[in-house]
Subunit: 343 residues, 2 copies
């Protein structure tokens, strides 16, 4: 009852041609005469033939797949990026492999595994943790040009990188609060080993200094981008004797849960406390009060990264340029920011 899968020779037989011709019909149809091309396609249809991917990959030494390394797949910030990466590659005949880099195995390990054993032709990593030694290893195998960073990146390893203009984002946030009249601004950071968290924090500090604002040590609250750290930050903020009138949060999730906890403690947002987030995740506009935040164009980030990698996979010559592209960010003013109390 169960037919064996048709192979290329079966198609060739049915069409009355050689396997080479069938193969050419599939990969370079214009090299065949109209007549045989039709015959082959008919035969493919009647046999129900599908190219065996493993055989093709072995012969052509390509995988037809790319790996996306995602730190925390459960985070909605990443999943939209993944989605647009998927769109680009699907449209170009590539499969997309995902790997959650929070897994025990280090990102380094995963990237080299997939690249070296030929499971993937290239890698987009949303995780900036990659060591310089891994870079060396990849370079020696001439695989370095098949890796691009998206969103995060590493200072230790120069690779093409698509990222939001984080400095601008942080500046917009601070300037917005200052323009409203705030002089005491707090900051909830991301994880200290995260490049985005470091950039946002350092620009926050610089920009405060630029405006002549001093920052009490208590006002910089270490966090990790998550909801739960936002709630904790709110508690610390509330307990402060000299309480800031505004907070710049390193992520929307921090901001949202911080607001929620602050409200539960009787603080009004934005009347008593202004809050600015970062990312503009979808829900930010659908809570009340709606979150003022810095928009990152996640779909664009994913698309740009995918197209950069695609270009590298398809262009044979090895252009040794290492482009860094900045996706625009934008201040989205909603309802969680207002002038400080008593103005």
């Amino acid at each position: 009852m169960q037919m064996p899968k048709p192979r290329i020779t079966d198609v060739a037989q049915v069409a009355g041609v050689s396997t080479a011709t069938v193969s050419r019909a599939l990969t370079q149809p214009d090299r065949l005469s109209e007549k045989t091309r039709q015959r082959v396609f008919d035969a493919i249809r009647t046999t129900g033939y599908r190219v065996n991917r493993a055989a093709r990959n072995l012969r052509t030494q390509r995988a037809g797949a790319v790996l996306v390394l995602v730190p925390n797949l459960g985070n909605p910030f990443f999943s939209l990026i993944l989605s647009s990466i998927n769109d680009v590659f699907a449209a170009n005949g590539y499969s997309v492999l995902v790997f959650d880099s929070q897994q025990p195995s280090a990102p380094d390990q995963v990237v080299s595994d997939y690249l070296f054993n030929g499971s993937a032709d290239g890698v987009i990593t949303l995780d900036g943790h990659m060591s310089a030694t891994m870079g060396e290893t990849l370079k020696n195998a001439d695989l370095l040009r098949n890796v691009v960073f998206c969103c995060e990146w590493s200072d230790k390893l120069l690779l093409p990188s698509i990222r939001s203009d984080n400095p601008l984002g942080a500046r917009l946030a601070v300037d917005h609060l200052v323009a409203l009249g705030h002089r005491k601004i707090a900051h909830v950071t991301g994880p200290s080993d995260n490049i985005l968290a470091r950039v946002r924090r350092s620009v926050f500090e610089d920009r405060c200094a630029h405006h002549g604002l001093s920052i009490a040590p208590d006002w910089i609250i270490p966090g990790d981008f998550t909801l739960s750290c936002g709630a904790r930050a709110a508690e610390r903020l509330i307990a402060l004797a000299d309480r800031p009138t505004a907070v710049f949060c390193a992520s929307d999730e921090i901001a949202l849960s911080l607001i929620s906890r602050a409200q539960q403690a009787g603080l009004r947002v934005p009347e008593d406390l202004s809050v600015v987030g970062f990312d503009d995740i979808e829900i930010a506009g659908h809570v009340s009060p709606a979150l003022t935040t810095i928009r990152q164009d996640r779909a664009l980030l994913g698309r740009m990264a995918a197209e950069e990698l695609l270009g590298r996979l398809q262009s044979d010559p090895s252009p040794h340029a290492v482009p860094i592209s900045f996706a625009p960010v934008e201040l989205i003013t909603r309802s969680t920011t207002a002038p400080p109390p008593g103005r």
Copy 2:
């Protein structure tokens, strides 16, 4: 400067054994003597050898990868499931391919592509849309046993399915509202072609009937699980002459944006309007008021589905059982539900 990738023959040469022995060292190490096994592993280390996946796949007729079909990758509800699926397969040496089934190509098409051309050994689909004819096609190739549904499922196609106990969830929601004293309950549905939406709606109706509540046609508001439809639903609700005192929403995202819009219109939640969601996405507990909802254990769903598929891929005999497993759901009572006004 650039060494060619070492192949199995290179390892064999270095170790002074045949390729068969090297291969066995990799796949069935206990069939080798301690001494040669060590020699082979040493040689692997010194050469930096990695198994070529395409070659292995071609020879063994397996892909070592599974496909996860996700309707809307950007939706955080799915991405956490994806994450736990990824964990299970990563731990068992499988790669995970993802595909967003919102892509132009129909789910059917994608599944058959990946399975037939040997890109994937199995499929977990979070998308319940699959035709009976596709089922036939797969059955004919004996590939049907390598597909499992997770979360969603199809009535037209009997396949192993891991799902939350949706009827219980809807019942818990309605009963909770009724217990608080509500007699006029609205429902915002998911897309009408979605199996989950249909089940939740029909249980909602049944359960209201069971409690002797009548439902005005206006009180069933068609939605699509998204944030924006929640806002629209709020507007319709507010405009109603005979307004319900409670709403059961088919998803948390609907509930959250509905609440937000209702609050903007001056309605108090839960005093004027009680709201119950469905899913218990992470943010549900981190907004104010915190959302009362039906918890689905997404990590468990993903894990169960992954383990079911894994079992099927690893067990040769074809057990023709088609298990349907229900993951438990739970009412999480938070702060968006209260007795109706005037009680």
